[in-house]
Symmetry: C2
């Protein structure tokens, strides 16, 4: 079985954006009362949105199941207040649940969280419980910068986040560290903000004792770990200079990188440098890069091809394609034995 | 000749920090009048600060000359006001000039700029003119985030920066895009903020027509280009989706990456992916990572070894070690024919 650990519902039916547009319009209207309202999306619209996109590509590429979450760039935790974030998040997560119910062999849910800058995480804990307990999801996406590019939240190793980690540990679910859109004109979302957040999170983990405090906490750094594998010597050297544990030891069982690296040389570096137990297959399909690479004639984001073409042996490929995902997301095995 | 394009005076005599401490103390004293004052550092102290550090390592490693600038992490443009920044910058640059005068075969100067968040760049233009014209420097370090980790300045492609670029073009000098310390607790300076800034700058260049407006502008992205070579497929794909020029074409003659990547696999990726004409030898010695790699028994930052051990032919190595630096920093040839 091939499990893609990183897919977002980037092709959701237009009813989702219509709802969101209404919410955003109400934010500008002093007389409006925030309302959860209802999404107007049929099951047929959901099927249609997936059949010619994610499902088509799954079949063409020969991947089996995608760990699927709401569109990351649309989470936009910086917009509005906690109620804005909660209503939007609930709809997005409910829609993922409908996708998973329609295609239980093809999609497993991961939730967005109703984060809001400077707010405590109580409502995120509640939504995590709802999504794991009621909707059957297996993990969450945690935004280290709910401000959208101004980085006003404390580092992920700060005690601000600890109540949320306690709930993750209790439920035995991992989080993917994933930012959303950037409202800072310095940062292109998918070309800079995403990658910077990955690099930033890793360095935060390197410099603190988060995993001593949470010995079973598991965090996935997407997009191949940002800049980290390329600069592995820098990080090994910084860790050594700072008397921190060796990196392989520090990340073992805790920090995982996906394979969303869209060329063979990058994937080769990732596979060479990062212990195989810390790598999860991911493509972020349909995502940031939608075109075909003229150098290969294949989709840039068809990352399965790169791993298949690599020098890894079959056992290691199996870990990356399936085994590691089952360890990091143990709840998946209840859904897909 | 081997030219190291990236070295900072990280070992400056204690008189520099004493002056800075006095300046910072005065900032907290409402009665104090900002004063340039004087550094108390002898030529012998300068010699001593270099002989057992940069000069020793140059000799041991067999590099000839370092393009040398004030300590990047100490620029701290976010502290104080424009006068604070100007006085500090003038002293730091004057000290670099003294280094270069004492060791004209070993060091060539690059200046820090008196940037201040939200300020126009007129004083930076004046300081660039002073450093190039009066001190004999050959380039500058430009901080894309003078706020120190809050990214409040406009992107490098914004017209805010254009008057400065006009002066760079007139003087025929390049800038290295280099942030300073981070006062944002999310960003470790050398492990996250530096690398993020590199990635951010590249993506800014990818999405704008800066080099159409300045056909001879040259910018160096340090630390091996941040995450860019590792994610070259992502950047090629994003450029293609956005109908931007192919990356090789976009960067040709304009964007250069140094070799401050502290392990062989990272350097191999850099050399494989980035056109050789866009790579400059750099080590950032003595810099972010000071230890010896237990896997090799050599200094992490002895990047000359990696390039020598690579599969590049002699002509390409010569470009990286010398030829490209002479093109990017044409004023170096007046000093070192």
């Amino acid at each position: 079985m091939i499990i893609d650990c990183h897919g977002h519902y980037t092709t959701a039916p237009k009813g989702l954006q219509i709802w969101r547009d209404g919410q955003l319009a109400a934010l500008k209207d002093p007389a409006a009362v925030p309302s959860r309202g209802a999404l107007h999306i049929s099951d047929d619209e959901i099927r249609e949105s997936l059949e010619q996109a994610q499902l088509k590509l799954q079949r063409e590429r020969g991947t089996d199941v995608t760990i699927f979450s709401p569109r990351a760039s649309a989470m936009a935790h910086h917009i509005g207040d906690a109620t804005t974030s909660l209503h939007w998040t609930e709809h997005c997560n409910d829609l993922i649940q409908r996708v998973c119910a329609l295609y239980p062999q093809r999609f497993v849910g991961v939730c967005q969280l109703p984060q809001t800058p400077s707010n405590p995480l109580a409502n995120c804990i509640a939504e995590l419980e709802r999504c794991i307990g009621d909707l059957g999801f297996i993990g969450c996406n945690l935004n280290p910068d709910p401000s959208g590019g101004y980085w006003s939240a404390p580092p992920l190793t700060d005690r601000y986040w600890y109540p949320f980690y306690e709930k993750m540990v209790e439920l035995d679910v991992p989080a993917m560290v994933h930012v959303s859109a950037s409202c800072n004109p310095n940062f292109h979302a998918t070309g800079a903000h995403y990658i910077n957040a990955d690099t930033t999170a890793f360095m935060q983990f390197l410099t603190a004792d988060l995993f001593k405090d949470f010995p079973t906490l598991r965090l996935i750094i997407p997009h191949g770990g940002g800049a980290v594998p390329y600069h592995w010597g820098r990080y090994r050297g910084l860790a050594q200079d700072m008397k921190r544990p060796p990196l392989d030891e520090l990340i073992r069982g805790h920090v995982f990188f996906d394979t969303c690296v869209y060329h063979m040389a990058g994937i080769e570096l990732l596979l060479k440098i990062i212990p195989v137990d810390n790598i999860l297959f991911g493509s972020e399909m349909v995502g940031a890069v939608r075109g075909i690479d003229p150098e290969t004639g294949q989709y840039f984001d068809d990352t399965k091809r790169y791993i298949e073409a690599s020098a890894l042996d079959a056992a290691d490929k199996q870990k990356i394609f399936e085994g590691n995902a089952r360890k990091v997301f143990p709840r998946i095995t209840r859904l897909l034995p």
